[in-house]
């Protein structure tokens, strides 16, 4: 990098553009992953964003009371399963749970009603959520920190990319103020004044 001539100003606008452009390219995949996962996780009360859980029901002939290994053998045979479960448990005398990879069979012994619960990770979304929620921990914590710093740089340099009427001293300034009002206004309404909770 060439040094600045005496009396010359640091070309901060040029550097803002360069940093904003290049960090933007580097951060695009992370931004998409975090944003998509963010929307998915926001609605966690309504769905499981990482797994597709399905519950289907079948009927088999009732299974008479016996020792647990005999009951498991009978359930496997009546359900037409080809392998024994990896584990089994009886939460109460009437119920048998059989665990397979990604599937659990809940057998109601007196009635023969079986709930088959299948759990499959959602493609791509599962991976995005794992990263967004920092499940891997360890090195990913630092990757996410670096990404956070990158977002700060993107935000700040973005303010100075344009100059003049559309820049921070004109339209850009008004938009920045409006954008700032969203979190600040919400904080006052929701947390400070308790507007939504009726406090």
């Amino acid at each position: 990098m060439r040094g600045l001539k005496p009396g010359a100003h640091f070309p901060w606008r040029r550097w803002s553009i360069v940093l904003h452009r290049d960090i933007g390219y580097l951060a695009v995949a992370m931004t998409l992953a975090y944003a998509i996962s963010g929307i998915a996780v926001n609605h966690i009360a309504d769905w499981n964003p990482s797994y597709r859980i399905t519950k289907t029901f079948v009927d088999v002939p009732p299974i008479a009371a016996a020792s647990t290994p005999d009951i498991v053998a009978a359930a496997v045979e009546r359900l037409g399963l080809t392998a024994a479960p990896t584990n089994s448990f009886r939460p109460d005398p009437q119920t048998l749970q059989m665990f397979y990879k990604a599937k659990v069979y809940h057998v109601d012994l007196p009635t023969g009603k079986v709930m088959i619960e299948s759990t499959v990770p959602r493609r791509v979304l599962y991976e995005m959520n794992q990263l967004h929620l920092n499940r891997p921990k360890r090195a990913w914590t630092y990757v996410a920190d670096v990404y956070g710093v990158a977002l700060i740089i993107l935000g700040v340099t973005g303010l100075f990319v344009l100059k003049g009427r559309l820049g921070i001293t004109g339209r850009g300034g008004w938009l920045t103020a409006a954008g700032t009002l969203i979190p600040v206004g919400y904080w006052f309404l929701y947390l400070r004044w308790g507007y939504y909770s009726g406090q």
């Binding site: 659990v104 991976e127 891997p136």
Partner: protein, 159 residues
């Protein structure tokens, strides 16, 4: 050159996601386990007041995982028809759904709580919602106050 660039981007993203989800035979959650002596779950359930507030290490089969947040698991006792719920702080530990059917070694503090019938009904209603069994939920089955024994989990190793 363009194909190469697209391939590089796809490879980078693929590697990123694959590294995050690489299968491990044993996985630790939360704080490191500090206890070495295991307490049978049946002992805790037999005399919960004796263990109330005490730190214990338990081992058992994971028979249920919170379907929405992975914030609790139910561990089978060493005796049939018994189980203990291990609750963790939301977001601090998140148990994956794949943990169901695996064995867990978990450490935490025993807590014994007594709920009024109304509280117990509300709890059971929420549990039924999480399990997707709301349609079969029958509050009339809860007759009176319910004592619930729970483990406030701090660390776990799923095998």
């Amino acid at each position: 050159m363009n194909i190469l660039r697209t391939f590089a981007v796809a490879l980078a993203f693929g590697a990123l996601t694959a590294s995050a989800t690489m299968a491990q035979s044993t996985k630790d959650y939360g704080k490191a386990l500090t206890l070495t002596v295991k307490t049978p779950i049946s002992s805790i359930l037999k005399d919960p007041r004796a263990y109330d507030g005490k730190r214990v290490l338990v081992e058992g089969l994971i028979i249920e995982v919170c379907e929405t947040r992975g914030c609790w698991i139910r561990i089978a006792s060493d005796k049939e028809f018994e189980s203990l719920r291990l609750k963790v702080e939301d977001g601090v530990i998140v148990f994956p759904m794949e943990a169901k059917g695996k064995t867990v070694l978990a450490e935490g503090v025993v807590s014994v709580k007594t709920y009024t019938r109304e509280q117990a009904i509300e709890q059971a209603r929420m549990a039924a919602k999480e399990r997707g069994t709301s349609a079969r939920f029958d509050p009339s089955k809860i007759k009176g106050p319910v004592t619930e024994i729970e483990l406030a989990g701090e660390g776990a190793r799923v095998k």
